[in-house]
């Protein structure tokens, strides 16, 4: 039995968690506007 049998499932779980986080962000409307934030970054104020 090598560590791979534990490490691989954990790695997959991590990936699932990341994907779930992304899905949550999209459903919350955070990705509704992908153009304006790119422009806002150029505004150098406080």
């Amino acid at each position: 039995m090598s560590v791979l049998f534990i490490a691989l499932p954990i790695a997959i779980l991590l990936a699932v968690a990341a994907a779930a986080g992304f899905v949550w962000a999209v459903r919350g409307g955070q990705y509704d506007d992908v153009d304006t934030p790119a422009v806002r970054m150029l505004h150098d104020d406080d």
Binding site: S2, L4, F5, L8, A11, I12, A15, A18, A19, F22, V23, V26, R27, Y31, D32, D33, D35, T36, V39, R40, L42, H43, D45
Partner: protein
Amino acid sequence: MSGGATAPSSRDEPPSRETASAKVSMLCTHCDLPVPKGLVRAGEENQFCCQGCRVAYEVIHECGLDAFYRFRDDDPSDLQPARWSGRRFDEFDDPVFHDLYVSSGETFHSVDLFLEGVHCRACVWLIEKLPLVVDGVVEAKLNLRRSIVHLRWAADRVSLSAIARKLDRLGYTPHPKQGGTEQKLHLKEQRKQFIRIAIAGACAGNVMLISIALYLGMFSGMYHAHAQLLRWAAMGIGLVSLTWPGNLFFRGAWAAIKTRTSHMDLPIALGLSVGGVAGIVNTVLARGEIYWDSLTVLVFLLLVGRWIQFRQQRRADDAVQLLYSLTPRRAKRLSSSGSTNELESDEPWLEVPVEALNIDDLVLVLPGETIPADGFIVTGHTAVDLSLLTGESDPVDVSAGSEVLAGTMNLSAQFRLRVSATGQSTRVGHLMNLVETASLEKTPVVQLADRIGGYFVATVILLALLNLGIWWYIEPSLMIDHTISLLIVACPCALGLATPLAVAVAIGRAARRHVLVRGGEALEQMAKPGMIWLDKTGTLTTGQMSLVQWIGDTTVQQLVHALEKDSTHPIGMAICRGLEEELFLDSADEGRPIDFGSNSPGRLRVSQVRNSPLGGIEGVVESSRVVIGSARFLSSCGIEAGEDSLSEMLELNRQGLTAVLIAVDGQVVAIAACGDPLRTGSKEAVTALKNRGWSVGILSGDHTEVVRRIANHVGVDEAWALGSVTPEQKVEHVRRMQENGPVVMVGDGVNDSAALAAADVGIAVHEGAEVSLATAPVYLARAGLAPIVDLERASRRTMNVIYTNFAVSIGYNLLAVGLAMGGLISPLVAAILMPISSLTVVTLTLATPTFSTGARNQA
């Protein structure tokens, strides 16, 4: 321009340049466009080209937001003067409005408003600084793509109408954002796309990691148990990718089979399903090759290509939404017991929402207001501006009994209106419906990639059968494996990226040259010559009346200018502007501009000014009685024009100009002729288009003789120059020519909007109505017609890039199939070939110039 430019010491000073003839010209501080000489105010640091710009600058400067001009300079994309409507926006405080559009919290309300005039990135910065400008506004977030600002404000500190007025002063006229189910659907679809891409990407990344381990194991050996673990893990993740994000392709292929249409999903689904089934079998049976890494990467890349395409799609705006922006929201209803006597100046009226109007209601319309509903004039004599429907802003006389239309502007006097149609039943309401149906009824262009999808899959299946045959003959045990690998590597990855990439790059480059294209179909349609219809007023011509000729005594020019200074009549304004140019020229030797400001000592005293709907103006200027107008108006003032003058007027009219007589102290002393000049470059653009094989025509609401004259000047065949065309007829002409091939329509006004929607490519011109911008897939952010020629050239180049990409992709596929037939394909080889083919397509697309290389960075 020769000479050097004096460097400004602070940002606020406009740069002044010396011209060859020593005239001093200024640039507007706000919009960077030239200031008409007559508006130059001597001794002031900042000069402005119009009241809108002056007002906007004042607001910006008061709040200390001058950094806006720094941002604007970094991105001079679409220079336009600020438009200030001057409306009061009282309806924004109406409870009905709040019910419809405002979300109310306990202390804070929020609303989404559509803003006109959002054209540049600096606008984002300025609008989001609104909390600094208006006390009480908590947050303002702008969506640049849709021009919609999300506002949150404290209801007890400021009213929405005050916020709206401030936005208007800054140059961004606000309108309520109409919900629109289409927009909601688009948003939902976009979210689904993001999630699909994310899952596909996660699966592809993880499967690739697993595959690296398996490939290394191929060379140096691997424990069987580990290999099994990895293969089962790869299968698990691969199946997730195929069944969730990849599902799209199977559904698309199934729909294509059921309807017997050709679609790119067919070969993709074939490759994916063969790969999937073979992968499952081989993993369970612990034998043979698996291709999960190629399959998952394929799914991911193709979804990215789909998303690029999706972003380019335009949505047709609701007809209702367009209508709302054109007609007023409120009307002044009179009590129905109002008699048909002459108007009393303080007749009681009630301000009601325009939705509350009924047929046969009596409505009062003041001068300067937009007419709220279709109807007939009961009492009153005025002039109206029909440019909404004809494109011509010449005032039209109307009186009791005349029909007037919703959305047109009342110019000179108030009148009583009896309503005959409201809302969507009005002429303009029907027109907006026509805009919507015209854009929906257009036959959709079938993508080139989809068209060859059917042939592609048929060819692949044939080759697979051939391969089966060959290997059955040579070595039957390898037959299945080699055929499976063939079907997988034949899957078109680069092909799915070829078109969206080329279109996206072309659109980006076009945007940098100030041609905004929404949708790849526009590029495809413009690549082959067809029919192009041009609107006249505002498109071929500048759309503004200007003084063309002055016949007679020039010493009276100062008097005339003083009288016309505050006129809002198009001819009056044209004379005023034209004289400012001439008078300024006369004093150029003195080296300083004439100060026309109201407090200047040089200004002439004007009194007893009377504007008449009969077509004229009279007044007393420094003790001289000046009368300007038509011959009919002059005789009504007791002045008879002589034979010479009258025949001059006739001659000028024959030339298509509008002429007015000028009489001082009872004597006709001069004639001023006004006309609408051609935009510079119109003639060259038409010639260039005709040389490239396009048929060019003119569709205009103006009189046929005027249109014919313009056609002669520009080089359009008289047979193709059509005048007195209604907006509905424009659509018919577009549709009629569509039988012969693609039709392009170029226009600027509301009266062009339905034709723009119906045409294969609608092009809205600089400074056009917002409605045109919403319905046309192409918007020229520079003045003039030259961008159309550029766009046509770019479209051809883009189509060439697409064809080249196709050739390269198919070349790779053939190579891969050849290798498969030779038994040389393994998962490793497939995994290398696919990204190389995609990279090649990407590199080719970016390296090929879309517009001429030399001018790539031209503003």
